[in-house]
Structure formats: structure tokens, C-alpha cells
């Protein structure tokens, strides 16, 4: 038995995905469906919309509503020093090699609200590399890029971020990086003074520079295999020889066509290094 409602819902979502692409240029056709269904159902519930048809009407009448939808449909849940061992590995295994370059370029792909970006900047600062590093922070979503630039995070999270920071090999007082007021922690703006922020859609946009390190963590899990392959190729084009790629804890290069031209630097932290051609 299969609920008729499921079939109707799924068909309506497929049509919606098609029409969003046509109208707004955002292509969600390569997104893993179970997650998309869940996000849309959640959005319908939050906005008190009875059906995908109703959602569709609002989306196409109101670009601001679409912006809001875009933010909710793409997952923007993130944290500082998520998986501290990953950042420790960056600090101990990757940054010492990057320090041999006179100028370092890093791409934080899918930077969301900036928690990862600021974690990375703190790491670079403590390893004495921040001044000669340029970080390109990109996301599909313009709204979160603005937040990422501001570096204002919920003060209530600072206790857990502090322990994650120390687990990632933090060298000073974590609280020295932010000032707190009214329940918020505002991070030192000088951490991102060399960072640039651009909208970039991994599903449709192309390579725009060459990098020594690309971070793209917990973004690929939302994509199907074909779209993942596209993104891996995009990263491959965008990495210098011997450049590094850092993925999320449960993401892997192993199934990809490009994996033969990479070595796995740290298996449990999913850090890969491009081989020389």
C-alpha cells in the first residue's frame, strides 16, 4: 500500500523544482529527495500552507518569500569547530605545508552563516598565516553570506564552542576572539578582513579561481551522486597540484571518478590531497 497523498506530493515537488529552475535559476534537481521532501513539509508547516500548490503560488508572486524559502530549504545548521579533530588535523597536517607558500588561497564552499569560516580564520591566525591568506567564502544563499560577514553568533553556544576550540588545539582564551552583548557574541572583524564573500551555486556555477585548500563540509550529503560528481570535478579544476580538500565526517571521495588522482591524507577526518599531474 502506498498513500496516494505521497505520490501527489512527490509529483508536485518535482514540478515545483522544475519551475523554480525556470523562474529563479536555482536548480534543485540533483538534490537527494528524502531530505528535500522533509524540508518542504517542514516549511509548509511553519508557514501554515496546506499544499505544495499553495506554496508554489506564494513563491512565484513574491521574490522575498522565495528568498526565505531558499534559506529554509537549504540546510543552514552549522557550528564552530564542528568535529574538532578535523580542525586539529588541519592545524597539524595541512597548515604547516600551506605555510611554505608565500600566499595562500582557500575556498570555503557552502560557508552558510560563517561559523566554519571564523573557526578557520582563528586557526590561521594562531598559526601565523592569516595575514597572507585570502579566504573565498561562498554560498548559494545571499542572506547567509551577509550573516557570515558579520560574525555574530548566539552567545548560548559559546560554552560548547569553547570546548570544541580547545579540542581543536586552541592556543589562547577563546573568549578573546569575541565581545559579548545582548545574548550575542560578535567575533573580531579583523579575522575576516582578508575574506571575500560571493554567491556561488555548486549545482550550476563554474570554477572561478585556483586554491590551495577547499573546505566543503556537510554540503555534498544533500546532493545525489551525479551532482556530487559535478562538484568533485569543479573542485578538481579549482585545486592547485598538491592542494587539499576537506569534506564532512561522513562524506567521501572514494566513490568519485577523481579519487585516483587524490591521496587520502587523513581518513577519519576526510582530508584529501591532490596528486601532481
Amino acid at each position: 500500500m502506498k498513500l496516494e497523498a505521497d505520490v501527489l506530493f512527490e509529483q508536485a515537488v518535482e514540478t515545483l523544482i522544475h519551475d523554480i529552475h525556470a523562474q529563479y535559476g536555482y536548480d534543485f534537481s540533483g538534490y537527494a529527495r528524502a531530505s528535500v521532501y522533509r524540508r518542504i513539509k517542514r516549511f509548509l508547516g511553519n508557514k501554515n500552507l496546506a499544499s505544495v500548490e499553495e506554496l508554489r503560488k506564494s513563491l512565484f508572486q513574491d521574490p522575498y518569500f522565495f528568498e526565505n524559502f531558499l534559506q529554509e530549504i537549504t540546510v543552514n545548521v552549522t557550528e564552530m569547530f564542528r568535529d574538532p579533530t578535523f580542525f586539529l588535523a588541519l592545524r597539524e597536517k595541512v597548515l604547516p605545508i600551506l605555510s611554505t607558500y608565500p600566499f595562500i588561497k582557500i575556498w570555503d564552499a557552502g560557508c552558510s552563516t560563517g561559523e566554519e569560516l571564523f573557526s578557520l580564520a582563528i586557526l590561521l591566525k594562531e598559526e601565523g598565516l592569516l595575514e597572507r591568506t585570502k579566504i573565498y567564502a561562498t554560498d548559494i544563499n545571499q542572506k547567509v553570506l551577509k550573516q557570515a560577514k558579520e560574525g555574530i553568533f548566539n552567545l548560548a553556544n559559546m560554552a560548547s564552542y569553547t570546548s570544541a576550540y580547545y579540542a581543536a588545539g586552541g592556543k589562547t582564551e577563546f573568549s578573546s576572539y569575541y565581545t559579548s552583548s545582548y545574548g550575542s557574541a560578535k567575533f573580531d572583524a579583523s579575522l575576516v578582513k582578508n575574506a571575500v564573500f560571493y554567491p556561488h551555486n555548486l549545482a550550476t556555477d563554474s570554477s572561478f579561481n585556483e586554491f590551495h585548500l577547499i573546505l566543503c563540509r556537510n554540503v555534498l550529503i544533500y546532493f545525489n551522486r551525479e551532482l556530487q560528481e559535478r562538484v568533485f570535478n569543479l573542485f578538481d579544476e579549482s585545486l592547485v597540484s598538491l592542494g587539499y580538500l576537506g569534506l564532512g565526517k561522513k562524506e567521501t571521495l572514494a566513490m568519485s571518478q577523481i579519487h585516483n588522482s587524490y591521496t587520502c591524507l587523513d581518513k577519519s577526518n576526510r582530508i584529501y590531497r591532490k596528486a601532481t599531474r
Partner: protein
């Protein structure tokens, strides 16, 4: 006609590890239906549950990797700090979105996606736990004609989760772990 693929989804919280060991211990390594297990644990606790199971369970117990294909003979455990969803093509998707029922992984997320992807071929089992997670997902499974089982609250270490599931799906089958195991074995024989 090709036999439709079944899936067994198990959810547990406090007391859930012990209960699931009881349920799985007699299942043969060749057991014909893939099993997906969501057990609440501490966030950022990286200790692998495999170790807890490998001595007591003949089936292969592994952590879910994203896009992996479901296979018989395996018990797939939800990784810490990720929601696990099932796709129609019988692969896994992972998700780091908001906590649900204060949990990630949340049982409701996995149960609901299993119901949507596998319909009446879903067997959902709610075990011991001090949470209400699982009851909404179990309802979704029941609504699509799947099999819904709840551990007998009298046997469960903490009865909150079984009681919530029973309240949510009054027509569920209430069994102790021995009966659940016998039921799962009977599915294998057919």
C-alpha cells in the same frame, strides 16, 4: 514478479542498546532483511557502537555512510550528529539539519522517510527510552500499512518511549524482546 524489498527500522534511547542486542542476538548472518537502527547517544560522542554489538550479534553492524545501498545481512547504525533518511532507490541520505525531539539522529526522521520510501514493506520497532521520539514516525509507518511493533513497556528499562508510541499508534503490536526476535526470525523463514 520481483519480491519487494523490506526494511526493518529500530529506534531506541535509554535502554535501547541493551534491548536491541536482545532482539538481534539470534538473527543469522544471512538474515534476509536490512536493518537500520537509530539509537540516541551523546552528541559528538564518536565511540563506535559497532564494538558494543560485534560480540553479541552475528550480523554485520556498520555505521551508515551516505549514498550507501541497503543490503541484507547488515545492521546500519545512525552516526552521531546526523539524521539518517532512506531514499526510494534504497540508498541512505544523511542530513545535519535541526535537532528533532531534541535529538540528531532522530528516530522520527528515519521512520518517516522509511515509510515514504518503502510503504507497507516497512517494519518499525520502538524500544526503551526516555523520550517521545519515534512515535510520530511510527504513525507514518502505520498509515502506509507497514508493521508497527513496540517493546512491552513493562519490560523496557524506561517506558516513556514505548508508552508514547502506543498512545500514538493504538493498533501497534506490543511485544517483549523475545517475541520481537521470534517475529523477526519468522520473517526470515518466508
Amino acid at each position: 514478479m520481483k519480491k519487494e524489498t523490506k526494511v526493518i527500522v529500530i529506534g531506541g534511547s535509554w535502554g535501547g542498546i541493551k534491548a536491541s542486542q536482545e532482539i538481534l542476538k539470534q538473527l543469522p548472518a544471512s538474515y534476509g532483511i536490512p536493518i537500520v537502527m537509530v539509537l540516541h547517544r551523546l552528541r559528538n560522542f564518536d565511540g563506535n557502537l559497532q564494538i558494543v554489538f560485534e560480540k553479541r550479534v552475528a550480523l554485520q553492524v556498520i555505521e551508515v555512510e551516505e549514498k550507501e545501498k541497503l543490503q541484507a545481512g547488515y545492521v546500519y547504525v545512525a552516526p552521531s550528529n546526523y539524521h539518517v533518511l532512506l531514499e526510494k532507490d534504497q540508498t541512505f541520505s544523511l542530513d545535519v539539519s535541526e535537532l528533532e525531539n531534541y535529538s540528531r539522529p532522530a528516530i522520527d526522521v528515519t521512520f518517516t522517510s522509511a515509510a515514504e520510501a518503502f510503504g507497507s514493506n516497512t517494519i518499525g520497532i520502538v524500544l526503551s527510552g526516555a523520550s517521545k521520539d519515534g512515535s510520530a514516525g511510527l504513525k507514518e509507518i502505520a498509515a502506509r500499512g507497514g508493521t508497527v511493533i513496540v517493546q512491552d513497556p513493562r519490560e523496557a528499562e524506561v517506558d516513556t518511549m514505548p508508552l508514547a508510541a502506543i498512545a500514538s499508534v493504538p493498533g501497534c503490536q506490543i511485544m517483549n524482546s523475545e517475541c520481537i526476535q521470534a517475529f523477526l526470525l519468522s520473517l526470515h523463514d518466508h
